[in-house]
């Protein structure tokens, strides 16, 4: 979380997640509501269609009876019973429409013909039945309420169509549907899309009877509706003016749709389990959620990419700045492009870098001109003193000579200090270029000893080289010489009069050569061990014999040796032993 990239990712992700969440919730609420309404509407329409089929079914049966009427009369009279029976038996469509039987009644409502024999039915008078009364009073076809057959003793519906002749009712034809045997629901009604769970039922509102019910069929008796409050489904169906709605039934939710059947005081009802009805809604919401998840994932990827593209210039800037810190000369400018903040950072950095560069140049110019200004007078001081001491201007009195020597030594030291300062400045600025080549250790050691002989004589110290021939290292000869000069002159300065400075070289396994410079002095004091390679570090200040140095020699030596992939160190063992290691040259053996 602490990286800028992670924060950007977090912000973008959070924002997009909230957006997606908000959209999802809105969609769930409004789309879900719309779709729920649509499903309810669909259920209602389906119910109405089925109700219409039931009504149609009933109308068709009435029609069937009506159509058969002309066959039953001749000259304004009903046919003889035998003839009637043969007619109604022959008419297939009548049997198909009314498997429960066809009857013909006379004007007094006495059964005179039947197509299937039921014992005692012929001759029975039905004038007391409600639907016969209705038939006489209206003169129109009627359908009875569910009744118990007088002779068949099973629950049935009776269809009656009057037979008129010249405005006078001469009889009627009746069809019977046994409620126990057949359904007046269309085939597969309510089972088109929900095989088992949708309940389809028909109730007789007026007589509080089941015409069709899901769990029990009227067998040999009429099935009355349970009293109010006992069956929530029935209660809901009978509720007047009821809309399609959700109800609780036997611990489950159902979507209930009702409609009235034509001509009868019946209610057709369909109750679909709510979950099942809403399945398409759930499916589409799931689909929606799935898409949302996909979009979120996409947003995450985009967030990651955006964050990366935002932070990449910063990472690059960091790298460049670090590179500048490590090697100021190699510093590159940052590209001044991209988003405004990044661009401004780049511009600021480039300005800083430029100023730093200028400052660096100023410093270098300063040091080089100061050193020139210092050296110019020193050149004449030192030159004059040297010639005086050498007797060019004639023999000097002893005291004058010794004073001239003091002056000379100090001017030499001043010169050495300026040289070391310049060297060190160059080394630190990384301007010192190393020209690595294969150097003979033996030769380097001998040259260095040769170069320091005059100093050794002055300090009355013996220089003893001990370097095997055939040892070669990879080094810059000038730098190696500078380091050896420094170590040898240090050793000379710290040696007692008449002492020895040994310069040894040997191969050190596996790929290094080690050169050691040993003196017989007092060694490096313990308190000074940690600071010995620091700038201007000297164990004892002042102008004693041992310490007429600048304090930069070992610091420079360390920089030089490390610049050549070598190492430098020391230990005390009856004097100070300074060692350097350098990589062996691959030319070893071939030289």
């Amino acid at each position: 979380m602490n990286s800028l990239r992670n924060r950007v990712i977090a912000i973008v992700t959070l924002t997009s997640l909230l957006t997606v969440l908000a959209i999802t919730i809105t969609a769930y609420q409004s789309l879900g509501e719309d779709q729920r309404k649509l499903i309810v509407q669909k259920e209602k329409l389906k119910t109405e269609r089925l109700t219409e089929k039931v009504s149609q079914n009933i109308r068709q049966r009435v029609m069937v009876l009506s159509v058969a009427r002309p066959l039953l009369t001749r000259n304004g009279q009903l046919l003889e019973p035998e003839a009637l029976e043969s007619v109604i038996r022959e008419q297939d469509y009548l049997n198909r429409a009314f498997p429960g039987g066809i009857l013909v009644f006379d004007a007094q409502d006495t059964a005179i013909a039947e197509n299937t024999y039921v014992s005692g039915r012929i001759g029975t008078n039905y004038a007391d039945r409600d639907h016969f009364k209705r038939l006489h009073s209206t003169g129109d076809p009627v359908i009875s309420e569910p009744i118990m057959g007088r002779t068949t003793e099973v629950p049935l519906l009776s269809f009656l169509v009057p037979i008129h002749h010249e405005g006078r009712m001469i009889g009627s034809i009746g069809g019977i549907i046994k409620l126990g045997d057949e359904s007046i629901l269309p085939p597969r009604a309510g089972r088109d899309d929900s095989p088992d769970s949708t309940l389809s039922l028909i109730l007789d509102r007026q007589h509080r009877l089941f015409i069709e019910s899901p769990d029990s069929k009227p067998g040999n008796e009429l099935q009355p509706l349970p009293p109010a409050g006992e069956d929530s489904l029935v209660d809901a169906i009978l509720e007047k003016g009821s809309q399609t709605r959700v109800i609780d039934y036997q611990g489950e939710q159902y979507l209930l749709a009702t409609d009235s059947v034509d001509r009868l005081n019946w209610v057709f009802a369909r109750a679909a389990p709510y979950d099942q009805a809403m399945a398409p809604l759930i499916a589409s919401l799931n689909h929606f959620l799935f898409i949302s998840a996909g979009v979120t994932l996409l947003l995450l990827v985009i967030a990651w990419l955006a964050a990366r593209s935002l932070t990449r210039p910063l990472t690059r800037a960091t790298r460049t700045i670090n590179a500048m810190a490590e090697a100021p000369e190699s510093s590159k400018a940052l590209p001044e492009k991209g988003p405004r903040e990044i661009r401004e950072l780049s511009i600021a950095f480039n300005r800083l870098s430029h100023e730093r560069h200028q400052l660096d140049e100023l410093k270098n110019d300063f040091i080089s001109s100061v050193s020139h200004e210092l050296r110019t007078p020193l050149t004449s001081i030192e030159g004059s003193l040297k010639m005086m001491v050498a007797g060019v201007s004639g023999e000097l009195p002893d005291k004058a000579l010794s004073m001239a020597r003091i002056a000379l030594r100090n001017s030499e030291q001043l010169n050495g200090l300026i040289r070391d300062l310049l060297d060190f400045n160059k080394l630190l600025a990384g301007k010192r270029e190393f020209r690595i080549e294969s150097c003979s250790v033996d030769e380097s050691v001998h040259n260095a000893i040769e170069g320091n002989q005059s100093m050794a004589r002055m300090y009355q110290v013996h220089l003893v080289p001990n370097a095997p021939t055939g040892l070669y290292v990879n080094a810059d000869p000038q730098a190696l010489r500078q380091v050896l000069d420094n170590l040898i002159s240090n050793a000379i300065k710290h040696s007692p009069k008449g002492g020895e400075v040994k310069v040894d070289a040997r191969k050190e396994a596996p790929e290094k050569a080690c050169i050691t410079v040993r003196d017989q002095g007092n060694g490096v004091p313990d308190w000074f061990r940690n600071r010995i390679f620091e700038r201007f570090a000297q164990a004892d200040g002042g102008t004693t014999r041992a310490t007429s140095g600048t304090g930069l020699g070992l610091a420079i030596s360390q920089e030089l040796i490390q610049g050549m992939d070598g190492d430098i160190g020391f230990y005390n063992e009856q004097g100070a032993h300074f060692w350097i290691t350098l990589p062996l040259s691959s030319l070893i053996g071939s030289q």
């Binding site: 050296r375 050149t379 030192e382 030159g383 040297k386 010639m387």
Partner: protein, 128 residues
């Protein structure tokens, strides 16, 4: 190999000029003409007719480099080697000096007791 006798020495610093004169005349035994500016060197090079020219680099008005080029333009450097004497001895500067056609560079500060020998060595190498 011709003998080295006459040296034209150009140096703006009075003290160094005096020290150098001592070093070159008394220690080295050369015949030396001292010039305190590049212009003076240009004026007197023909009459003095030196065997070798010592040239300081850092001088006001006309520095050693310009003096060198103008001497060259005058045709005064035919067979006359030029040695620069300077404290500016960065490797890149040294390379530039040699490219110019300077024979050698003696870094300042120089040792007056040995500078004559060094000049003699350079003279020998030049005529090798």
């Amino acid at each position: 190999m011709p003998e080295l006798n006459r040296i034209l020495y150009v140096e703006d610093d009075d003290d160094i000029r005096q020290v150098s004169q001592l070093a070159l005349e008394d220690v080295g035994g050369y015949e030396v003409m001292l010039c305190e500016s590049g212009q003076q060197a240009l004026d007197s090079v023909a009459s003095f007719n030196p065997d070798l020219i010592l040239l300081d680099v850092m001088m006001p008005d006309m520095d050693g480099i310009e003096t060198f080029h103008r001497l060259q333009d005058q045709g005064a450097l035919d067979g006359v080697p030029v040695i620069l004497m300077t404290a500016k001895v960065h490797p890149e500067e040294m390379a530039r000096y040699r490219e110019m056609g300077v024979v050698d560079v003696i870094p300042k500060p120089f040792d007056p007791m040995t500078v004559s020998e060094e000049i003699a060595r350079i003279w020998e190498r030049y005529h090798d």
